[in-house]
């Protein structure tokens, strides 16, 4: 069903019916423009029907390039960002779809624009416009490609150092005194971060985000802003930085709002050396300020999307995780993703081929120490957290260390000896403890969270066996063929429920949201048990789970 242009023109007389050819097989029709008041003009507007319209493409309105960054809702390409053509699949004819778009252009864009009703709209999505500005200014010889900020917006302007990381040409707004700087550089990897160069940053808080109507456009604008926002001593140190080895220093103006950030690399920095296929080439310093895209890598954003104020507290916390197995390794990853600042991971094993189906690690780390490899992987992926690996058994670590400085212990080893040693260590340094374990097939999993003053071993009796959901036949524990190692049968999918339960409760303890002792169990229903073996039954306390796929049951700590 193709477009009937004559009929569309009849319905919308401002459409000029002469078709024009556009790139990639598109057809365009110019639109009559009104007489514009001062400052509201643009050169042309077109209805564009891309190749494939109406079956596989939607019609759009394009405005002339002079509208970009001057009129809200106009994309870099000149496309007007309004909902108009509903697209195929809603039962509209091609003419009706084009007409809906033209009406939307008229009523949602042109008339409000002429009346001044869209004037504040830049501020509704300021970063979109900034990215257009950055894209327009970008070249392959730019000394800096982007900026990463790793802390929260300051309350007062400050002049600080940062690092230009080469060859990736990313500026990290932090110095070596900030742990996150090193971690972030580590995340970039050696190939992208082989060299770091000191830069100077004027880090200025904004009371509201910048828009095309307010952002600095010239060096003079930036000078005025720096004059107004920096104290005299700050101005002096930013304008005339002390050079350690002579030569000039890159200077960046970083303008930060609590939700978004903008930056300019100032002209006058050192020349840029770029490695090309045929060797290095040097490019002269900038002659105009270069707008930069700023990515937030501060934990409040990467971890909590600014919705979780508890992240700030988590950043200060130190969690000791005993066991880097199928439970411990993904739990560590979750804690890191949740912003726990410091994790010590203790495990003396190395990764076997049989582990990779249910462990965080994969075949690329077979034969490596689990603790080391997990730490390496998590540290590279999650700079908000730092995992320190300890390649030794939990027992040995507890022999050699105390719990001083530890805010929470996770015992995920399932080993009675470790539980006993943890008990002794907690008597010396009372510390909250979470014990997490899984039953065979992950037919049940349990989390026992104990505040610092509650001990696990009461009267020397280890409760773990009594707390289980199923009386397990002896042969449920399998032996690896040809060796003495034994294992439980379960899949990573089944274990994911246990991982989530342990991680969630561990985070509640980190956040101080679990004041008293608590025992929570994830219990699968009878149907699940039957699918594993025909002779499994739930203990009395767990029977409520029987008719369900699974049930979370909370019991009081005995």
């Amino acid at each position: 069903m193709s477009l009937d242009v004559a009929r569309l023109w009849n319905d919308f007389p401002d459409l000029l019916p002469k078709p024009l050819s556009r790139a990639r097989g598109a057809t365009a029709f110019r639109l009559k423009l009104p007489s514009f008041p001062w400052g509201r003009d643009f050169a042309w507007a077109e209805l564009v029907l891309p190749y494939g319209f109406p079956d596989r493409a939607v019609a759009k309105i394009m405005l002339s390039p002079d509208a970009v960054l001057r009129i809200p809702h106009v994309e870099d390409s000149g496309a007007l960002c309004i909902e108009g053509d509903p697209g195929p699949g809603f039962g509209y004819s091609a003419n009706d779809r084009a007409l809906l778009l033209l009406l939307a252009y008229q009523e949602k864009f042109l008339e409000p624009w002429l009346a001044g009703d869209l004037d504040g709209d830049f501020s509704t999505e300021p970063l979109n416009y900034w990215y257009i500005k950055v894209a327009q200014a970008r070249s392959h010889t730019d000394p800096v490609r982007a900026m990463w900020v790793i802390d929260e917006c300051p309350t007062r302007p400050q002049v600080r150092e940062g690092l230009l990381v080469l060859p990736s040409r990313i500026v990290i707004a932090g110095d070596w005194d900030m742990p996150l700087t090193g971690r972030t550089i580590n995340s970039l990897g050696a190939a992208r971060a082989s060299q770091q160069i000191r830069v100077l940053i004027a880090d200025i808080p904004l009371s509201h985000p910048l828009t095309p109507a307010t952002w600095p456009r010239t060096v003079a604008d930036l000078d005025q802003l720096l004059n107004g926002r920096l104290r005299p001593a700050q101005r002096a140190s930013f304008r005339h930085p002390l050079r350690r080895r002579g030569g000039s220093v890159h200077r960046i103006v970083l303008l930060r709002h609590s939700t978004c950030a903008f930056a300019y690399l100032l002209p006058g920095g050192p020349a840029t050396v770029i490695e090309l296929e045929r060797g290095k080439k040097t490019y002269p310093p900038l002659s105009a300020p270069l707008p930069l895209r700023v990515h937030r890598l501060d934990p409040a954003w990467t971890v909590g999307r600014d919705q979780h104020p508890e992240v700030a507290h988590r950043q200060t916390q130190h969690v000791l995780v005993l066991g880097a197995g199928a439970l411990g390794s993904p739990v560590v990853e979750h804690l890191a993703k949740a912003g726990v600042g410091y994790i010590t991971l203790v495990d003396g094993d190395n990764l076997a081929p049989a582990n990779i189906g249910r462990h965080l690690l994969g075949a690329d780390t077979i034969g490596q120490d689990k603790a080391e490899a997990v730490a390496r992987q998590v540290n590279a992926a999650q700079p908000a957290s730092h995992v320190t690996p300890m390649v030794m058994s939990a027992g040995k670590w507890l022999d050699n260390n105390t719990l001083a400085g530890v805010d929470l212990v996770l015992d995920l080893t399932g080993e009675p000896d470790v539980r006993w040693q943890v008990e002794q260590a907690r008597r010396l340094h009372p510390c909250p403890l979470l014990i997490g374990w899984m039953e065979p097939y992950v037919a049940a999993a349990h989390v026992c969270s104990l505040p610092f003053d509650t001990l696990w071993l009461q009267g020397n009796e280890d409760l773990m066996g009594k707390l289980g959901a199923v009386d397990w036949p002896d042969d449920v524990i399998r032996q690896e063929p040809g060796c003495s190692s034994r294992f439980q049968s379960y899949t990573a999918v089944a274990a994911a429920y246990a991982v989530a339960m342990v991680a969630e409760n561990a985070l509640k303890m980190v956040d101080g949201a679990l004041p008293g002792p608590r025992l929570i169990s994830w219990v699968r229903g009878q149907h699940y048990l039957n699918a594993q073996r025909s002779d499994l039954t739930l203990r009395d306390w767990a029977i409520p789970a029987a008719p369900h796929d699974g049930l979370m049951i909370e019991r009081s700590f005995p």
Binding site: A115, P157, I204, S207, Q224, N227, R231, L255
Partner: protein, 424 residues
């Protein structure tokens, strides 16, 4: 006769001025062989026209002002009925910019404040203790969910573009004598404005404090009426405005020939644009009462010295020049005296913030002077228009539709169903 205090301030500011914008204006008018004042007015016409445009652009629409007035009258009626006060014991008046025609629109979509002072005759009501009196007013306003501020209750009228800042006060003379003397020891009402002096509640000290918003309004209005534009030029400027077919202005608008008020409005707008463009910190921006006081003192000083100007643009340029020099520094402390309450220093906080506010004021003055230079350096009318509107943030015309072509009823297909946002 020795020069007045304001004249001395101006003389001092003239000695210390760093730029001389007026010379730029003079050179502009000299560039044309001027036969008469009328020629001069014509030469400066494009600037006047554009600044007049800005002045209109920043005016708060009359319907919003009317709604704000209705709001504070309804608040007053609520107090009378809730607190069982006699009808004639309370008087509500606009104060601050609302009463001096210097209320302006904000550059963004934020609300504007309308200040109203509610005067209560203390002899007619039971209250004596200042905090009890303040709390009683707050309690009566409770359904409006007011926010307590140091001297007023802030009421946010949902759906309206303004906040109401409602200041409970009592005429100073109705405060018990003992209390009045204690208050007046530090803040003495200036005799000339004695009749309108009030006592407002200072929540920080939990005491009465002298204030005189009505006196302040009278001071600004009286001084604004003094004429610094030479009469012939004034006539010509008025004629020019007529010949330019400037749209009739609502009553609350101010003509460019009312130069003091125009200066207050334009300079406040310039300050707001500096904040909007992040060139000065919002927290440290020069507050409006300081801008009003400095400009009005400067205007008064110029009048006392017998200075006259050929065109409002010249006067605006001179006011921008002299503004930074009007701040007094005595014994290491910055002073901007309240002209109606002796001893009250509007710039008191400038002396307690390690210079942040004073530096912001200086920066703003520098930018203002630089922007005025940029504007006056333009040569042809389109360039002047571009620069003036850019500096004052009037990027596009708000005067309504320019005629969008086909407004005939059109065939309209049924609207598509609303799109739902999926989560990834």
């Amino acid at each position: 006769m020795p020069p007045s205090k304001n004249a001395n301030l101006v003389l001092n500011a003239e000695r210390n001025r760093r730029v001389r914008l007026v010379e730029a204006v003079a050179s502009l008018s000299k560039g044309i062989a001027l036969e008469s004042y009328h020629d001069q007015v014509q030469a400066l016409g494009p600037w006047a026209r554009e600044l007049n445009y800005v002045n209109q652009h920043i005016t708060v629409p009359q319907d919003q002002i009317d709604n704000a007035a209705k709001a504070y009258h309804s608040v007053a009626r609520r107090l009378v009925s809730e607190l069982k006060w006699p009808d004639d014991a309370i008087k509500v008046l606009p104060q601050g910019s609302a009463s001096t025609q210097t209320l302006i629109r904000s550059p963004d979509r934020s609300k504007f404040d309308v200040d109203a002072v509610c005067q209560v005759d203390l002899n007619r009501i039971a209250a004596r203790d200042p905090i009890a009196f303040f709390d009683e007013v707050g309690k009566a306003l409770e359904p409006l969910e007011p926010t307590r501020k140091n001297r007023c209750w802030n009421v946010d009228f949902t759906g309206d573009p303004f906040y109401l800042e409602f200041t409970p006060s009592v005429p100073l003379d109705t405060v018990p004598t003992v209390v009045r003397e204690a208050v007046a020891r530090r803040y003495i009402p200036v005799e000339q404005y004695r009749s309108t002096a009030l006592a407002v509640v200072d929540n920080r000290t939990r005491q009465w404090k002298t204030s005189n918003p009505e006196g302040m309004t009278k001071w600004v209005n009286d001084i604004a009426q003094r004429q610094l534009i030479r009469f012939v030029a004034l006539e010509a400027a008025t004629a020019l405005n007529k010949s330019l077919s400037i749209e009739p202005v609502p009553d609350q608008e101010v003509e460019i020939t009312d130069t003091l008020k125009v200066a207050i409005r334009l300079f406040k707008r310039h300050r707001d644009m500096c904040v909007y463009r992040q060139k000065i910190d919002k927290e440290f921006k020069p507050i409006s009462i300081i801008i009003v006081t400095l400009l009005t003192s400067c205007y008064a000083g110029l009048a006392d010295l017998g200075r006259t100007y050929g065109h409002p643009i010249e006067l605006l340029a001179d006011l921008a020049d002299l503004l930074p020099g009007m701040v007094v520094k005595l014994n290491g402390k910055y002073r901007v005296d309240n002209p109606t309450v002796e001893g009250e220093n509007f710039a008191e906080r400038w002396n307690m913030d390690e210079g942040e506010r004073y530096e912001a004021f200086e920066t703003w003055c520098d930018i203002l002077a630089a922007d005025m230079r940029t504007i006056l350096a333009a040569t042809d009318p389109p360039e002047i228009r571009e620069r003036v509107r850019s500096v004052f943030g009037c990027g596009a015309n708000n005067s309504g539709s320019g005629g969008s072509g086909n407004l005939q009823p059109m065939r309209r297909p049924p609207s598509p169903p609303p799109k739902t946002t999926g989560l990834a």
